[in-house]
Symmetry: C2
Subunit: 330 residues, 2 copies
């Protein structure tokens, strides 16, 4: 990486950078690539892409930020036909049309395991928070109610709780490892059973929910997992059940979740992701049995730095004709 | 326990029950003992104790609730000279004058390990909360700021963090076990090194703080540990340091902690206990880098039930002349 002293500086390859306003990473990128930055351009997306495509050396790679700001689909790829590689800043690639990329032979990489430990930590933190009512007790203290009203309402213990994890990939496995240390009993649903773990496998999410007191959504969002936590699954989880979602908002039927919470048909929820984020259903904002974070499970100072390095390595691999570090489509 | 069918019912022994208003446990106690309940009596403590002492069969045992409502000291023991056994509802017995009890031959039992796992869970939950800014991000979401201001400020990761635990007893050990699963590096201070663990031992709390990014207070409160987290220790912990306290408020010099937080000389704190609870220093109530819970680390539905059984077993052991289950003074 970089230029050896004495060699003439390499011409930096052009890279499209599709990000949200205020999102980081561009500085380090600028040191390695000629960055065509969607936000810095100040142009609407269509005009920005047209200008990029019209350059004498149009970009062959694009970094696409997760979070739904731009969907890399057929019309996106049509707009800049030079693009042969997409690198997602997220582990999930639901914002990239993989079928279309495969058809065109466009390589796709994701963020690999850069975020996994932080997301697992956040998931477990949210579960402790919901079940032990930490944020709710926090509000009670900050409002000055402790001296007035005395003890705060009891939560439940974690030990012995049956936790059903939907999606036992890298993140799900790290959540399981942490929750084992709390004495939880781990069950899981995944595309298939994993030989590497002794946890009980449930081929059906409904059955998993029936056997669980906590349901953790840690799967990728795709056709099969959209609204996988349905009204029926919430019903199966039951009135003492808690839902944690650190995957994607649309893996839960959010409208049904809100109704179940309002009607006390489940006990609580910890949600880092939402179907139409940053919009959060207003009914949730006044509930004491939910913990709501702004898609921040992935964000730490350390993961930001790791991601930056990871993005650059994937792009450098692509430009030097080497295999991507974390290919979703090679 | 209980009466065998056919035998005449045993006369239930009298037990003093010193509790806070609204505190639970009395129902199950009533089934086994003639409970003299400080709250139900409606009398001031002195009158209540005098009335108990004047009974034809005065109580030989007392249950003393933790939380500082009554201190079982020489004047307390003088008021009801029949008392030969004190059972604390807490693991800590800083509300019981042990030297005075020892001098008089009054047996003392605590709550043993009934709460340990729940307290450890809460400590870890608070640490995740502080370091990942969960409660603060929660407020950001509930105030509707996410769509307006975008990404919330980054927290730090847990993995690799050096955590110094003050007091590696039952609770401290369970905290360590959980944090190992998060990839933290555990150091500790205790009365002496423990052969059973491989964590690095620091005989001095100041040195422990110097080598730690997180300091967890999990020790008993006594003369040696009062204000063990002093101004100097906070200084040694440093500007990136986080303090978690699930022990007793007075183990930290609270006034110095507030100053250190205000001046940014430490990064944050998660506090379940306070020097003058339920009073919480008002400066803390507006800080976003602290998490404040109302001495609720011990409280779960399950621990309440376990405690009740544990109290009854200790009392029945005492009344039948058997060894206490969890003696502090035998």
């Amino acid at each position: 990486m970089g230029t050896t002293a004495g060699e003439p500086p390499a011409v930096h390859p052009a890279v499209l950078f599709i990000r949200r306003p205020g999102a980081p990473f561009s500085n380090a990128m600028h040191q390695r690539f000629r960055v065509l930055d969607s936000v810095a351009s100040g142009e609407p997306l269509a005009a920005f892409l047209a200008a990029a495509a019209a350059k004498p050396d149009p970009p062959r790679a694009a970094v696409i930020m997760g979070g739904g700001v731009v969907r890399a689909d057929a019309s996106f790829l049509d707009a800049v036909l030079s693009i042969r590689c997409l690198v997602s800043t997220a582990a999930g690639v639901d914002h990239i049309d993989l079928a279309e990329c495969a058809r065109r032979g466009v390589a796709v990489a994701n963020s690999g395991t850069v975020y996994s430990a932080d997301v697992a930590d956040h998931a477990v933190g949210m579960l402790v928070d919901v079940i032990r009512r930490v944020s709710a007790a926090e509000r009670f203290v900050r409002r000055g109610l402790w001296p007035v009203q005395g003890d705060y309402a009891l939560g439940s213990t974690l030990r012995g709780k049956r936790v059903g994890i939907i999606g036992l990939g890298n993140i799900g496995s790290l959540i399981a490892k942490r929750l084992e240390a709390f004495g939880c009993v781990i069950h899981y649903n995944s595309r298939g059973p994993k030989d590497s773990v002794a946890y009980k496998y449930f081929p059906d999410v409904h059955d998993l929910a029936s056997e669980s007191e906590v349901l953790v959504v840690a799967c990728a969002l795709n056709k099969e997992t959209r609204h996988v936590v349905s009204k029926d699954v919430l019903e199966a989880l039951g009135t003492d059940g808690i839902v944690i979602n650190i995957g994607r908002g649309a893996s839960i039927d959010e409208a049904e979740l809100v109704i179940a919470l309002k009607e006390g048909r489940i006990a609580g929820a910890g949600l880092d992701v939402f179907e139409n984020e940053p919009a959060v259903p207003s009914d949730l904002l006044s509930m004491d049995n939910v913990v709501l974070t702004p898609h921040s499970a992935v964000f730490t100072l350390e993961s930001r730095s790791d991601l930056c390095e990871h993005l650059i390595c994937n792009l450098e691999a692509f430009f030097s004709g080497k295999p991507l570090l974390t290919p979703v489509l090679p």
